[in-house]
Assembly symmetry: C2
Homo-oligomer: 235 residues x 2
């Protein structure tokens, strides 16, 4: 499928090292939607000016995969991501490195607006309006978003998209952003109460107009082994 490419400049293939890359899709939640961290494309033959790409590094077999992904993420984000998980291996489509294989990771950053000076020229883009990406990286972003949605109702992953201290409205916003639809406020809080995942603080924060919102902190108490019945919820 791919035409035989000349081994381009900086792709130094060391025998014994896999011809593969580690790519990281770093997501953050903002009021307007999820945003993705991109870095300026390395200047290669194919790259005209102003292109962007997912942070990636060539895979080095010595270092553990996750460690390398974490380093790659930290390099672009400025700090280590609050959460990191492998999405999977991708081999279809072109990659900026022209590598045959790429391992994608999902990284989460807590509320990018505050702090987290994105390294060098890295920039955040709204997840619904991304600049053109290499086909393989485009697929990896899709996989990362899907993984985030999957994890959301199995793992308290939403809290890694929020600062230490947050309001329940903020928490609900994150869930709505990731799930892609709005939730019932009373039901959301009831379920949250039942799960006892958060601890209220004796602090309130006023934001714009209305009544100030109480602040909460992530503090899971119960370990519940609830066995739900089967749901045949095929999509």
């Amino acid at each position: 499928m791919t035409p035989a490419r000349p081994a381009s400049g900086p792709s130094r293939r060391v025998p014994g090292q896999p011809d593969a890359t580690a790519d990281v899709a770093i997501l953050a939640a903002e009021p307007e939607g999820l945003s993705l961290l991109l870095v300026p494309a390395r200047t290669t033959a194919s790259a005209r000016g102003g292109r962007w790409e997912l942070p990636w590094t060539p895979l080095r077999p010595k270092a553990p995969l996750v460690a390398q992904a974490r380093r790659t993420a930290a390099e672009a984000l400025g700090v280590a991501p609050a959460w990191l998980e492998q999405v999977g291996a991708f081999d279809k489509g072109r990659h900026p490195s022209d590598s045959a294989l790429s391992i994608a990771f999902l990284g989460l950053a807590p509320e990018r607006r505050e702090g987290t000076a994105a390294g060098r020229q890295a920039r955040w883009f709204p997840a619904e309006a991304l600049p053109p990406l290499a086909p393989r990286q485009r697929e990896m972003v899709g996989g990362a978003l899907a993984l985030l949605r999957e994890r959301l109702d199995v793992t308290p992953v939403a809290f890694h998209l929020l600062p230490e201290v947050f309001t329940l409205s903020q928490l609900q916003e994150v869930y709505e952003l990731v799930l892609g639809h709005s939730l019932h406020k009373a039901s959301f809080r009831r379920a949250l109460q039942a799960a006892s995942l958060v601890r209220p603080l004796a602090q309130w924060r006023t934001e714009g107009r209305g009544r100030p919102a109480q602040l909460y902190r992530y503090a899971p108490r119960k370990r519940r082994g609830i066995r739900r019945g089967v749901r045949f919820d095929i999509t």
Copy 2:
């Protein structure tokens, strides 16, 4: 971590080819539990007699990843698996090939007892009583089982563990095997009815003692976009 191994016999490392493998965990459902297909370990220096391993092949960058996994599975199973999905990339622990990286796949076979002559010397082992495996392959099996559980309530994947025609008790057994706990019969059937995933046939099958069970076929009719509320079901 790994001591410097001499490049052992059959590991021909071609420069430009990733030093990686594709491994497949092929599962089937039996009344006693899930079973896993293993093949005799390739005779290498480390292998004493009677060891087993997951079917694997060295990764060839030209071929698409899934295609190669499917071929690897078919070689061990005799036929193509009814379902195949990537589990992820594994790099920790030793692999029979001593490769730095392995991509794991989950394969499903419909009820192994009937037909499906396992290729050559391949053998089924109960998933709870596996023979010793290379550490990395052991992890891959765990990942494959976890993925199967994850997929079960999102995708009608259970039907790929059953023959074309089955009884509702068989279907429930598969769900119970994969989920690891028993389900309420009436509730199970009610939910199944509501999802309209199966079509009853005008055939009954008597099995042992009691009343004969009606046979069903997988036939999803509705495409439902039901939006459930959030569940904070952290395990």
